[in-house]
């Protein structure tokens, strides 16, 4: 019986309108509604389902960031995870934090916790990187089942049905492995109030990246963040001749 590590990221809620900071260094996050990344919710749900089916013994929810991420870990605990780990990252390190640092942290934790599976969301809705799962697998030299829409454990191997451009691909990988959840993997359960109350009693361990031997220096520097350009109004024309004339006039043809 084994242990699963699930990554949960606290991101700006998908329904909120984003605003760029006046100094163009990033996006306004103060006081803005945040919630758990939707793909991370699906990852948590899958891990809890595997535990309910008795394939795994313990589910550990992990999140990296400032003190507010403990709310996200609590939600994961309320959905059924057994305990949490909060890797404290704040200030400049948090702003510069990206998939490389996160995957180093997860790789270190996976070894430390002797996990047989690391389940992550396929990507986060704020940066849309889609890199952490893949990098974690590479750092650990573990097989990876990404964009999973169906996961079945069979002894020491995992059968993963992956969503790819051409359709669905089924692969068999040996454990320990890294999986990333895609949209159709499952429908996450609600974190109900009695479970939130019980989750307050579950343990969340605190640690720093340095405790895991990870340096948070970023190889990427964000130069500027801009709003997307406002869409110009379209122009309607009556005939094909008008269209050709307009295209010639603005130099397209």
């Amino acid at each position: 019986m084994s242990r699963v590590l699930v990554g949960v990221k606290r991101v700006i809620d998908y329904a909120v309108k984003i605003r760029v900071k006046p100094d163009q260094s990033g996006v306004v996050t103060d006081g803005v509604k945040h919630s758990m990344n939707p793909f991370c919710e699906i990852a948590v749900e899958e891990a809890v389902k595997l535990k309910e089916k008795k394939f795994i013994k313990e589910v550990v929810a992990v999140s990296c960031g400032p003190s507010q991420v403990t709310e996200t870990i609590r939600t994961a605990l309320a959905m059924g995870c057994d305990r949490g780990i909060h890797v404290e990252v704040s200030g400049k390190d948090y702003e510069a934090m990206g998939p490389l640092q996160i995957s180093k942290i997860f790789a270190a934790l996976a070894k430390k916790e002797e996990a047989s599976l690391v389940i992550l969301g396929k990507q986060a809705i704020d940066d849309d990187c889609n890199q952490t799962g893949q990098m974690t697998a590479a750092l650990l030299d573990w097989p990876q089942g990404t964009f999973a829409s169906e996961v079945t454990i069979d002894g020491e191997t995992v059968k993963v049905v992956r969503e790819i451009d051409g359709g669905l691909e089924t692969i068999k990988i040996s454990m320990p492995a890294v999986l990333t959840a895609d949209l159709r993997l499952n429908t996450p359960r609600y974190a109900t109030l009695p479970n939130i109350m019980k989750a307050k009693k579950k343990k969340i361990a605190n640690m720093k990246p340095a405790d895991l031997g990870v340096d948070m220096v970023s190889r990427v520097e964000v130069l500027r963040v801009d709003e997307p350009p406002t869409r110009l109004a379209g122009v309607k024309v009556e005939t094909v001749d008008d269209l050709v004339a307009k295209l010639k006039a603005n130099g397209t043809i």
């Binding site: 329904a15 006046p22 429908t187 109900t192």
Partner: protein, 620 residues
Amino acid sequence: MFPASRYSIQAQRCIRALKTVQAEHAPPQHYTWRRNCSSAVMPRITSHYTIFPRDKDPRWEGVEMERFADEADVVIVGGGPAGLSAAIRLKQLAKEQEKELRVCLVEKASQIGAHTLSGACLEPSALNELFPDWKERGAPLNTPVTEDLFSILTEKYRIPVPMLPGLPMNNHGNYIVRLGHFVHWLGEQAEELGVEIYPGYAAAEVLFHEDGSVKGIATNDVGIAKDGSPKDVFERGMELHAKVTLFGEGCHGHLAKQLYRQFNLRENCEPQTYAIGLKELWVIDEKKWRPGRVEHSVGWPLNRNTYGGSFLYHLNEGEPLVALGFVVGLDYTNPYLSPFREFQRWKHHPFVAKTLEGGDRIAYGARALNEGGYQCLPKVTFPGGMLIGCSPGFMNVPKIKGTHTAMKSGMLAAEAIFPKVTAEDPASETAGLHIPEYEDNLKKSWIWKELYAVRNIRPSFHNYFGLYGGMVYTGVFYWILRGKEPWTLKHAGLDSAQLKPAKECTPIEYPKPDGKLSFDLLSSVALSGTNHEGDQPPHLTLKDDSIPVANNLAIYDGPEQRFCPAGVYEYVPLETGEGMRLQINAQNCVHCKTCDIKDPSQNINWVVPEGSGGPAYNGL
């Protein structure tokens, strides 16, 4: 159960007549009937279990309906200024007297402050009593009022009105705040004191003991599909039992509506009258920024018989931010009036446009507010519970401030409850504690004196000269006589009864939004960040699905299309056949409660949707 197509016309008419009696049975998916304006099938709109109970619904047979229950000493519904002040005061008293007290607070918003919307000029009187050291604690009162302007607007010009000391609108000593941030700070203080705060969980049901007293509340169920059937992820809400339950749902709370009927709390007061307030936050050109300046106006674009006005406050929190908005009294008579479009139109007035030109709008929201004051205060205590804050309605209308009185009412409630709830033997006649001392405390406090002094100002607008008559009355009786006149004027009655039929009124020609100063409805709603789980029964329930087309559209030209600040209600042509149907876009709802208040048929009953749905205001 009764597929209508199998029956003859006579049988259909019979079934229809019996429908009102048999409302409990699971209805067919479609109604078919002949009406003047429609000869086709109307799709069903309402599927919520408060209209169609689940114990008679075959789809719910065998579903586990047991609820997990927990006990607390005090449960508070609503994490606004009143609820949080009550929670804080209770914990402060517990700490002083070294007693243990479990206080649980439930709030429907995803985080404390996300559903809070107000101007706001805060009078720090109640805060000074609650936290004399609020400055050291970091309360976000960063903008003391430095300038106070009042104007009467005409279409092109502005008539300044001197803001003499002693007039209710004078703001000397007050602070311009972003109330959402202030409420969030109150939430942090409450948590530090040990209050259990649960945002994202809405109180959906009031629970009663056998003897009829209030036992507590139950939070909303989750996982019900749009058609009212259970989904795989269905989970029952949780019951929170308490010795006493405080209801601080804000203006026109849905549980409070139920409690008024249950305990007959409104038998000796006038029906509450309301207004709708719409608000935006703008980042403006630094050259136009005057931090600490408060501007109010009345007049254009409203006519003299429609109560309302505007506010524009310059905040001082780093960025050149202004909070501006428009309030329209919901006792307006013209069904063609659209409060949203009046607001957008007002921004084009030269005096306002010059501040906003070159600026960017960053937030939008709307909420109903109380206008009734003293005459509309109900009984606020009943066995097992009490009402606090804007729910019963302690807003000082001419001052346009209700936060200080809401906070004070929460504190008074806490002070009345504490000795009873920590006593060894509560000596109560009912299982839920009845604490009438709270009402006595209110009557002895400055809330009562303040509301009594201004009681006649709002009703004084109901005269031929409308706005101008009201201003003259205020000048004479309030400024000079301080509200000591022996009479108490009455309001006009229920807001929903004030609309005139559409054929007696002229449609209003509103200008098109220009995309720079004024905007369309849907882009505004997007800015509020509102969202709800799509697959749930619409929480804007109709007691009778056929009334909107038969009554609201036929007689009043569908006023809900205009007074809803979020575009929830739309009359769209039927897919087949002639006529219109009402479409409810429940996901857009910003929880303002205006529809429940203003619907001329009083057919709309707003109930709480799944918790954490609704707007995502940030410091509004």
